[in-house]
């Protein structure tokens, strides 16, 4: 008998359920490690598991052992995929390497799915390849990091206080490292040496993704809110802003951080952070993790605001339904995560500054949902302003639809402009004056990607997002001369000087660029700019790189950070006493 359209046994599932560690093995519920069953996009899985986007390889470089690839796909009696680790024991969580493979795979896949869902398209990796290797027991070290050179997420293991700690079992660590990899695919130039906000953004976004991913699991929130009474209700005080700020899910890396940071509780505690008003000028706040906490804290404060606002109508007689409260928290986290991720498309491709993020998130949300009925955008903007982060200057994010003149589209193919970098280059070339782009400097269109998103009103928004980058290689002495010229052109007579650590003959690489957003008809909508000839930004960047000794092995500045191959993120995760070192 033919299967009907509504016969579910014949449908290919869009997702499968997989058991993961909800936070990390130190977080217990009723004496057992807290786990969660999460939805992971359904794909063909080879042993590993290996999918179209990830390949889990259980190779341990410290022992030289390659373990058997894990087989996750198990078909149940109903013919549908089933989770072989449902109901797994604590002992097996800690010891079963196949479960470790599932844990890292599921969390990484879920994280990528969150980005792709928010941005409305498939996202490439930052390296030349389709599959990201995920190595759950990579080496015996208290570390976990993304290596673009090795196309891999590497998770270490170590012993602390007679306990073996596997970073592959920490949900937020896995999500954090995956977020680095995804962001690298979206903004590869964010790994270039730049202003302190850029490296900080990598850490901040990874922290935000990790924490909001954990927060979006109802089981985690139910556990954090505590046991309800017989009617399923809890004291409303537990869901007050201060209590939420101090709650467990907002502490990143509880187990790993506890072992590394001598029991201070988590690697970093971001919500409720109050940086000093002059944080931008303090050396301690130039360290990327500490600086990133400013951005992460503003986002998390936004979450606290959104969630607690949602709870107000649920409170009766000082109590509220716990499961409902958890559900609202998960929804808030999911909503906020999508807002933040959508903003990435509206970021410049180089020389990121925190103000760019605020503007990007607000713009992306406005485009999709023009009415801010619930005050999400005003809440977010307020939280950032309290951290001293406002909006960028008006000429950095240009609404092209409001430009006094129209651009030239003559000879251009609108359909091609949505996918073809050459066509976008032609558009920029023909409209360089209109876009205020200087043709004298080398320009490359690095990516053109379509994006399709659905707003709350159900209408579909289709755009194309193109990044272009301009580069210029000069000596430090030439930069002073150029910058003086740019300053004069801008009507600024300030003297341009360079850090004395940079010798006049030092080779320097300057970067500029922009992001162009086109509508579904190929018409240019927005231009997010970082002009190459911005002398203030270029000298500020060079001064920062010189001051922090960021020269490459050829004593050049601005070409690379000088980090050895594959080590860009390795060293960053060690605890430091920020601001005291040189």
């Amino acid at each position: 008998m033919a299967k009907g359209v509504l016969d579910e046994s014949g449908l290919t599932p869009q997702s499968v359920q997989m058991t993961i560690v909800a936070q990390d093995p130190d977080v217990l519920r009723d004496g057992r490690i807290l786990t969660a069953s999460v939805r992971v996009p359904a794909q063909h899985l080879d042993p590993g598991p290996a999918s179209a986007r990830f390949w889990v390889i259980d190779y341990d470089a410290s022992t030289g052992q390659l373990r058997e690839p894990a087989m996750l796909t198990v078909v149940g009696s109903d013919g549908r995929p089933t989770d072989r680790f449902e109901g797994i024991s604590d002992r097996d969580i800690l010891r079963d390497r196949a479960f470790h493979a599932q844990n890292v795979y599921a969390i990484a896949a879920r994280t990528l799915a969150a980005f792709e869902s928010a941005l409305g398209r498939r996202l490439p990796w930052g390296f030349d390849g389709h599959q990201l290797h995920v190595v759950p027991h990579a080496f015996a070290e208290a570390n976990a990091y993304y290596s673009d050179d090795d196309q891999a997420l590497l998770f270490g293991y170590f012993t602390a206080a007679d306990e073996q700690i596997l970073t592959c079992l920490s949900h937020d660590v896995v999500a954090h490292e995956t977020a680095h990899a995804v962001l690298d695919g979206l903004r590869h130039r964010f790994l270039e040496p730049s202003l302190p906000d850029q490296a900080a953004f990598h850490e901040a976004l990874a922290d935000v993704v990790a924490l909001l991913s954990v927060f979006s699991i109802s089981a985690v929130l139910e556990h954090a809110l505590g046991e309800p009474d017989a009617e399923g209700r809890i004291d409303a005080a537990v869901a007050a802003p201060e209590a939420v700020r101090n709650s467990l899910p907002l502490v990143l890396g509880e187990q790993m951080g506890g072992a590394l940071n001598l029991g201070r509780g988590g690697l970093r505690r971001s919500a409720g952070l109050a940086p000093p008003p002059d944080w931008r000028t303090l050396p301690a706040w130039e360290e990327c993790h500490q600086r990133g906490e400013v951005l992460a804290s503003a986002v998390l404060d936004t979450l606290v605001g959104l969630w607690t606002e949602r709870l107000v109508p649920l409170i009766r007689d000082g109590r509220l339904d716990r499961d409902r409260a958890a559900e609202e928290g998960a929804k808030s986290a999911d909503h906020l995560l999508r807002m933040c991720l959508r903003g990435i498309d509206y970021l410049p491709p180089v020389d990121f500054e925190f103000e760019d993020f605020v503007a990007a998130v607000l713009l992306a949300d406005t485009v999709l949902a023009p009415d801010d009925d619930h005050g999400y955008r005003s809440t977010l903007r307020g939280c950032f302003e309290r951290m001293g982060v406002g909006l960028p200057p008006a000429d950095r994010l240009v609404d092209l639809a409001r430009a006094p003149d129209a651009p030239v589209y003559h000879g251009l193919n609108f359909a091609a402009m949505r996918t073809d970098s050459d066509e976008v280059f032609r558009f920029i070339w023909e409209n360089a004056e209109w876009l205020d782009v200087d043709r004298r400097y080398h320009l490359n269109v690095e990516s053109v990607r379509p994006s399709t998103r659905t707003g709350p009103d159900g209408l579909v928004l289709t755009e194309a997002v193109a990044d272009y980058v301009q580069t210029l290689e000069v000596t430090a002495a030439e930069l002073v001369e150029l910058a003086s010229g740019w300053a004069a052109e801008a009507g600024d007579d300030a003297a341009v000087t360079l850090n004395p650590l940079v010798a006049p003959e030092t080779p320097v690489q300057l970067l500029g660029g922009g992001t162009l957003v086109f509508d579904q008809f190929g018409r240019a909508k927005y231009h997010i700019r970082k002009p190459l000839a911005d002398w203030r930004r270029q000298t500020e960047r060079l001064d920062y790189l010189a001051r922090t000794g960021t020269f490459d092995s050829g004593r050049r500045v601005g070409f690379s950070t000088g980090a050895p191959r594959g080590q860009r993120f390795a060293a960053l995760h060690e605890p430091t006493y920020a601001g005291e070192d040189w």
């Binding site: 080496f139 570390n143 594959g566 006493y577």
Partner: protein, 451 residues
């Protein structure tokens, strides 16, 4: 009426050219002879080197002869800030040790971590946690020795840098045995932060403030929890014993990471990895796993380097940090103490105004850890500037340590700041047999000047 304590009138500080290492002689002169008939006292602070200067080979026996001349044949105090080779290798040199022995050092001063036979019931603040640190460090030494032996002297590249770093963590048994012998023959003390020092009796008119190292009970963060955990090091001993690092660090394998940026390296990445696949990885089926395993070899070497460096950091943080006051002059000798060690003092600054005042008025600063990026806290250097410029002494050699700008010793940004805010003197470029000598009278208003 009690006799008046002798007051020094003049100080000389000598920094010997030992390349990458430390060797300082503090000489204090009195207006009249003291009870023993001598009108001077001499304090040797460290005596070691791991890399000769670029221009010549250093012989610690020659340095010992110089010291013997400069101290007039008698050493009153010998301070060994910590047990790294570059601070005590000279004592392992037979000829140099014989010369030092002839100087009859009267008091041997070392950090509390060198205390022999630390008893289970030792009084606080050296307690169980501190004893566990010692056990951890001991296991760390064993790991370093195994690793250095496993890598062997195979010349060049990242692996060789790891071997040399491991080699520097070895226990230096011969040097320590000699120090133990002198300590038994004469007098000795093992100091932790806040302790009183016998140096004040040996060098009248000099007061000693021990700023570091704190014990673990005093400051848990002085050494991170991993490094002071014996099981942590035993895990790595196990890996070395399994023979993996030997295979991983096969000398016939091309090392694609010579410390240069990939874009500047001659070979392409694929050429580098194709040059040789270790036997280990040939056992792995051809495909993505073997591709990845070959590349993780590089990651593993960097991981080992970080692990050895954590031991290096731990040992640096056992270093004595001494603030010496002689008349109106303050001298700061922090050995190789890093920020974790300094943190015990820095955390007190907001509440302890007198301490802040003492540090602000330092007249001579021996630059910590040969000018590395994390041994001169910024908040310390920020105390000095326009209205007070101490002299600074840097004993170092460029290119001996660090495989990138970020890890280079000395750190260029620090040297630049020292030149800006202090009267800066370095052994870089100093000829064989030459010495940097700074002298001053102890009266207020006088400054150290180079002779």
């Amino acid at each position: 009426m009690a006799p008046r304590k002798p007051r020094p009138e003049h100080i000389a500080v000598r920094m010997y050219q030992v390349g990458f290492g430390d060797c300082f002689l503090l000489s204090v002169r009195y207006p009249k002879p003291l009870a023993d008939g001598r009108a001077e006292r001499h304090v040797l602070i460290d005596f070691g080197s791991t890399h000769s200067p670029l221009s010549h080979k250093v012989d610690m026996a020659d340095i010992a002869e110089q010291i013997a001349d400069d101290c007039g044949g008698r050493l009153d105090v010998m301070v060994v800030t910590h047990r790294h080779k570059d601070h005590l290798s000279g004592f392992a040199n037979d000829e140099a040790a014989a010369t030092v022995d002839s100087l009859r050092p009267g008091l041997i001063v070392r950090p509390w971590t060198e205390t022999p036979d630390l008893h289970a019931d030792a009084a606080a603040p050296v307690g169980a946690a501190s004893r566990r640190l010692l056990t951890g460090l001991s296991e760390g030494h064993a790991f370093a020795g195994q690793l250095a032996a496993a890598i062997g002297d195979k010349g060049g590249g990242l692996r060789d840098r790891v071997r040399k770093l491991a080699d520097e963590q070895l226990k230096n048994a011969e040097a320590i045995a000699r120090l133990d012998m002198w300590a038994e023959q004469a007098d000795s003390e093992y100091l932790h932060a806040g302790m009183a020092s016998k140096m004040e009796d040996v060098v009248p008119g000099m007061s000693v403030e021990v700023l570091g190292p704190p014990t673990v009970e005093q400051h848990p963060d002085v050494v991170n929890a991993r490094a002071r955990n014996p099981e942590y090091w035993m895990l790595y001993q196990g890996f070395v014993a399994s023979g993996l690092p030997n295979a991983t660090l096969d000398p016939d394998d091309h090392d694609p990471d010579g410390g240069a940026d990939p874009e500047l390296a001659g070979a392409t990445e694929e050429e580098a990895f194709a040059a040789g696949t270790a036997t280990l990885e040939r056992d792995i089926p051809a495909g993505p796993a073997r591709w990845l395993a070959t590349r993780l070899r590089n990651q593993q070497v960097h991981s080992l380097k970080r692990i050895v460096r954590s031991l290096d950091d731990a040992l640096n943080n056992t270093s004595l940090i001494l603030a010496l006051t002689i008349g109106h002059k303050r001298l700061l000798f922090p050995g190789d103490g890093q920020i974790e060690n300094w943190r015990y003092t820095l955390d007190r600054l907001p509440k302890d105004k007198a301490l802040g005042k003492r540090l602000r008025s330092v007249d001579l600063y021996k630059v910590g850890h040969h000018g590395s990026r994390n041994a001169t806290p910024r908040s310390l250097l920020d105390l000095w500037g326009d209205d007070h410029r101490p002299a600074s002494l840097l004993s170092t050699r460029t290119d001996a340590h660090g495989d990138s700008e970020a890890t280079a010793v000395p750190r260029a940004t620090l040297v630049s700041a020292l030149k800006e805010r202090t009267d800066f003197h370095s052994t870089e470029g100093l000829a064989k047999g030459a010495t940097v000598v700074l002298e001053t009278d102890v009266a207020a208003g006088e400054r150290f000047s180079r002779v």
